[in-house]
Structure formats: C-alpha cells, structure tokens
Subunit: 419 residues, 2 copies
C-alpha cells in the first residue's frame, strides 16, 4: 500500500570518500534514504566511490542513467583530494569558476574565527559554471545544485549535520517540486514494546478503512529491535495545510489504536520520552544498572538538559556493590526483589525522587539458574509507586544489553505517564 | 597472520536488502572494505540495491564490468523477497537446483532446534547450477561461490557474524590465491594519544630506511579520533615464514620507536588493553565518571570476563553525588583535586584496588569557568600510586565524551604498564 506519485521521482545516492572504502561506515546514505522515502521519492540504488575524479564521474554517469536525480555526499572539502567539484564540472563539460559570494562568505568566516585563509580554502569557492549554490550555514563548503544532461545533481558535504541541513532545507523541497504532484508530508510515530506483526494486527481494521478512502494517507513500518517500530504516515493533498491536517487526523487515530506503544514522533529517542516525563512532573532520577553496565546512563545523559533532572547512577556490576552500596539484601541478585531494592537504593544514595533499576544475565552463560536474556526492571517513586517488568530477551550479549536498555527507558516513560 | 594479495585484485561489494534503502545502516560493506585493504585487494566501489532480481542482476553486471571479483551480502534468507540466488542464476544463465547436502544440513539444523521445516526454508538449499557452496556454521543459509563470465561472485548472508565468518574462512583466502604466488602478510599496530602527523614525524627516519630497502614492508595509517591511529605493516616474501619474520622484525622496530603509544595489535580495543593490564596484575577496578555519563563503564563491561576484575561505577552526574557518595570536598568539581578524590571515592565505595575517574565539561556551555572539552582524569592505586591528566578536547558534546572515554581507558592502560 504505497502511494505512487503522478510522476514517481527516482533519486539515487553517491557517497564519495576514500575512507568509506577503507572501513569507515556510511551513515549519510542511510539517513538520506530514510528521508527520501518519507517524501515519496524512490531510492533504488546507493553507490560509494573514493576521491578520484574519473571514478566519481563514472559513478554519476551510471546513476544518472538509472535515475531522475542524484545526491552526492562528500568530497567538497578544501584539500587536493576533494574532487567532487571537478568530477561534476567534467560531466557538465564546463570549467570551475570562483564564485565571488562564496569567496566573500569564506573570508568572513575565517575573519570571524581568527583563522588564516589559505589558497586551499579558496578551492571551496570554486563552482562548475552554471551551478547554483546551496547555502552553507554550519560549515564552510557550500553545496552545489548542478544540471547534468538535464537532470539535477545535488552535491552535499560529507559532514552529517551540514549534509542534513542542506538536504532538509533545499534538496527535499526541490525534489518534491519536481514530482509536481501537490503537497506531500509525512509524520513518523515511534513505538516500542510491540512487534511489527502485532502492530499490523492491531491496525488491520484501520488498514481496511484506509483502503476504502483511496490509499491516502499511506502507512509504512520500519522495524529496528532496539529502537522499536517506526510507523510512518505519508499524506498527499492539494496544499501543505491539507496534507498536515490529514496527518494530524490520522496521527490521532493511530495513537488511539496503539495507546502507550507510541512514545513520540520523528527522531525522538526513548531517553527523550523518559526525560520529557521527568520534566513534566518535575522529578529527579537515580539509576542502578548492572547487566547494561552504563548503557542506560549514557543514553540518559545524551538528552540536552539532563543535568536538570538526572542525579547519576550506580553501576553495580559486582553483586557485592549491590549489597554494600545499594542495600540489596544478600542472596540472589537476578530477581524481582533485587531489582526493587536496587531502585530503592538508587533513590537513597543518589538523592532522587524516582529510581530506575536493571538486573539480569547478558550471557553467554546463565547465572543463578537464569537463562541469558533474563532481565528484571523496576521503577520506584515518587512515593511508593512501583512498576516491575521481567524480560526474556533474544540475542547475544550486546543485543541483550541494547534491548534491556531500551526496555528500561520505555518502562520509565510508561511509569511516568501513569502518574 | 593475514594473507595479502601479490598482484592487485579489484573486488567490489554489492549490498543487497530493501531495508538498506529505507534507513538501515550498512556496516557489512565497511567491514569488508577494511579487511580487503588489509589483504591488499583494491576495493574501488560499493553499491546497494533492494531485494529485486532485475536490479540485483543489473548491479552485479556493472560491478563485474569494473572489477575482477564481487562480494554480495544479503538476500539469502528463506522468504520470497530474498532473491540473490535467483539474480545470480539469471546472470549465469543456469537454473536453480536443490543441493542435497545443503538440504540435509537444513533438516538436521531444524531437527536439532525442534523447529518445523517449511517449504520456504528449503529455498535456502537452492543453488545456481555449477555454484560451489560456502559452508555456513552459525546460521542457516550457505554462501555461494559462483562464476559469472569467468569472474567470481561470492554471495554471503547479510547477518554480520555469518558474513564475517565466511569472508574470513573462504573468500579472503580465495582472493589471495587468485592474486598468484608469493606470500604477503600484514599486521596492524594500534596506537593512541599521538596524532597521525606526529606519528609520521616520529617515524621519518624509519621511513627513509624502509625506502632504501625497496619499500618492503610498506606502512599505512588509518586514523579515527576515538580509536586512535592504526599503523598497518604489510610485508612480502617468497614464503609465509619469511613474510612473518619480516613483520615480527618491523613490529619490534616500530614498538621501540612509538613506545607506549602502541596499546595492542589488530582488533583489540583500549578497553581490552586496560583489562589485560588489570588481569596481569590481579587488580580490581572501580570507576567514577561524570562527563562521560556511563560510556567508560559500558566499554569496560564489553570485555569478556569483566566480572573477574570490574566492581562497577558511580556515575556522579550531579555534583551533589560527588560530595555525598564519593566524598569529594565541596567546591569546584572540574579540577584535578576533584578527579583524585573521585578515584579515591570509587576505590572506597566500590571496594576496588584501583580507581579511575573523569570529571569535565562536555558543553555546549562552559562550567566553573572551564571551556567545553576540559576534562581531568585520575587513576589511583594500588596503594598511593597516582596518574593525572588534563585534556582539552575538540568537538561537540558527543565527540568530547567519546574522546574522553578513550583517553581514560588509555590512561588506565599506561598507569598499569608503569606498575
């Protein structure tokens, strides 16, 4: 049930950078793909090439032969090995020319930072004749919007936040305009705790109703174990306001069907949802984790403003630390009771109003007769409010830890919703 | 010892899976690239396509036109959307045939696990006529070694650990054999705490000497801020023993030039190096971290056997926790003194022989007049042995935290070396 645009725009991605051919992981292509799908643009191919003019031009030719548009990332830096500009100019059959406005912006940037402007830096002001500039506000190299044989090539920097800004501000709106099919908008509901197939089952009536309405909006699922299932609603309408209002209506319908499985929208994480709950109630948090070894804590401190509500954590990896520091009664530690006592201990020693705890077995071997993947979670406070959960998680040590951390954050979120 | 090719074989990677075109990150291509480089195989291109027979075949044709060999990942599962087998058979111009040995292995696997064998599962026993099987020991789908127009296509599963096993056991040795005679081997020294340019400067005389010996072995650097700089030595010789002895000689020469900057070989992490030091001296560790919020702890527990030497951590995110729980004297907490008191506090409350601590400012704003990136590290114990370090780290919050965690683990490693 996927909406096909009046004219389906196909856009592919060419990632440029020799480091990507030596072991660096390309996260830019994944991000771009996900966001292209959200605006209804088909992305059927990614390719990756090193910093080599001929190979970049070759990859672009192959891409342009299959698609309506190409986004490149990387190769726009100041050094001699950054040759994306040269490769595009070669394909366009035009020279590179210094753009006076870009040069001025580069000089102003260096002046403001008190850094010296070298001839290399000026390479970033060189633009294939006829190309349009995609403004750069976070870094130094502007993006380029070029036409090669009538098709657009958007050249973006390899630095993720610069790339994301230019894609969101300039490239995606431009691709939507190319589709020439009115307004498209999408919204992603983030869910946790329910499998993709269980979600689909809960939504089966809703699906049927959608079908009768002519498949607008459409729904798509994207599952990732540790981050839950994303449910993306994509709506088209004659106007942006029309698409937004359709999204709003269906977001509410889905929320009422999915209940507490929905923890947020878009790029929000489980840690953000939990943090929002703490802020909403003006509560502080103390954490006691063992099986996850610090993972839950590091996710919590990644939330901007965590110092306003996060007291800290005790990572009680050794059982002796559970007994001596957290006040857990001596005995088995992979139990519901130990989880509750850990959360109570966290409140006490860290001076918080809410305590969150995890205790369990990451494997590979069992512990206290419990199989790997057995994890007990507790959330305690404010007062005597208590939530408990027992998990049997699949996977290896690393997967079990990641899943347990996500379940802990989600449990905290649910506990706070219930207050 | 890792084998490397004597004449440059060009191999490219085709990642297969619709999820990769919807937002999932492809880590397989990065891993394969890094390991191909280590055996001297040139990888100039990656490409990614969805689960579509025509597009997979198209991507393979493009890849085979540019390279001597192709590795594919993904699309070998049991469901109807896994069509890598079909695409390769199409290119070979042969039918798929059920392989009786693979079928038997699949039946045995299901029997052993008590799961039902469905007709879909049997799809994994289908093999293009003339293809060789690459044995599967961890999962269910075997890999395939096929010849398309005289060039090898290695089809591997998308599950990382299955893919890595088949690549290491079968594909890499086969690519090296293709390269012809002579032995080439490589070894990677892991360094930390010294920049790539400073390393190159320290090795300049060594480089000159290498030049006179005819560039054998060769050196290559691969820098990654949080993991340090990798120095790869690649040696050629008539025999494997000869290459190995050349590597041994030059590893020792490099170690003596680089001193404590070298913390290990190959895939070892800073946490492994620190853990080895603790084990060697039979010491236990307690940790107190604030700016890194749990990151150091989660890296430590990722080391197999951590429960033998790791007591746990106090994440004293709030200053009040530093005072009340760790016994830091009230006052400024981004100081050398606070770091020492945190480490001493960790030893005391966690019951360890060695204490490691970090306190600092991740930003974006400053704290106590200190700029973001200011971090104090302390390692205390056994007894009154003490190591201190002040860092001024570049980057945003996340980068500062990752770098600080690596510096802390490296400091612990160096402290233990000095015992």
């Amino acid at each position: 049930m996927r909406w096909i645009a009046a004219r389906a725009v196909r856009c592919e991605i060419v990632a440029i950078g020799s480091e990507l051919l030596l072991g660096a992981v390309d996260t830019n292509s994944a991000w771009l793909s996900e966001h292209l799908a959200a605006i209804g643009v088909d992305c059927h191919h990614h390719s990756t090439v090193g910093d080599n003019t001929g190979r970049i031009a070759g990859a672009l030719e192959v891409a342009l032969s299959r698609s309506d548009a190409v986004i490149t990332t990387g190769g726009l830096g100041p050094t001699q090995d950054d040759v994306t500009r040269e490769a595009i100019a070669l394909l366009m059959g035009v020279p590179l020319e210094k753009d006076p406005l870009v040069e001025e912006a580069l000089r102003a940037r260096h002046l403001a930072r008190g850094t010296e402007m070298t001839p290399n830096n000026l390479r970033q002001a060189e633009v294939p004749r006829g190309a349009q500039i995609i403004p750069q506000t976070l870094g130094s190299a502007p993006g380029l919007h070029c036409l090669v044989a009538g098709k657009p090539v958007y050249a973006l920097p390899g630095v993720p936040r610069e790339m994301k800004e230019m894609a969101s501000q300039t490239v995606f709106p431009d691709l939507v305009r190319q589709a020439g099919s009115g307004a498209i908008a999408s919204r992603t509901l983030r869910t946790f705790g329910v499998s993709e197939s269980a979600l689909a089952a809960r939504l089966s009536d809703y699906y049927d109703r959608l079908g009768q309405e002519g498949s607008n909006p459409t729904l798509a699922f994207l599952a990732s174990a540790a981050e839950g299932v994303k449910v993306r609603i994509t709506a088209k309408a004659a106007s942006a306001a029309g698409a937004e209002s359709l999204l709003e209506e269906h977001e509410q319908a889905l929320r009422s069907l999915l209940g507490e499985a929905v923890f947020g929208l878009g790029d929000v994480g489980l840690e953000d949802a939990a943090a929002a709950g703490l802020c909403a109630h003006g509560l502080s948090l103390g954490l006691a984790e063992s099986v996850t070894g610090g993972l839950v804590s590091s996710r919590l401190v990644s939330v901007p403003g965590a110092s306003g509500w996060y007291r800290g954590a005790v990572v009680s990896y050794d059982s002796a630390v559970k007994y001596s520091l957290l006040g857990v009664a001596e005995g088995p530690v992979v139990t519901e009771r130990a989880a509750v006592e850990m959360a109570q201990g966290a409140i006490k020693v860290l001076g918080s109003q809410v305590g969150l705890s995890l205790t369990g077995v990451a494997g590979p071997g069992g512990q206290e007769g419990m199989a790997p993947g057995t994890v007990f979670l507790a959330v305690v406070g404010p007062g005597d409010k208590e939530s408990l959960r027992k998990l049997s998680l699949p996977g290896n040590r690393e997967t079990i830890r990641e899943l347990a951390a996500s379940w802990a954050l989600w449990s905290l979120h649910c506990h706070l919703l219930d207050l």
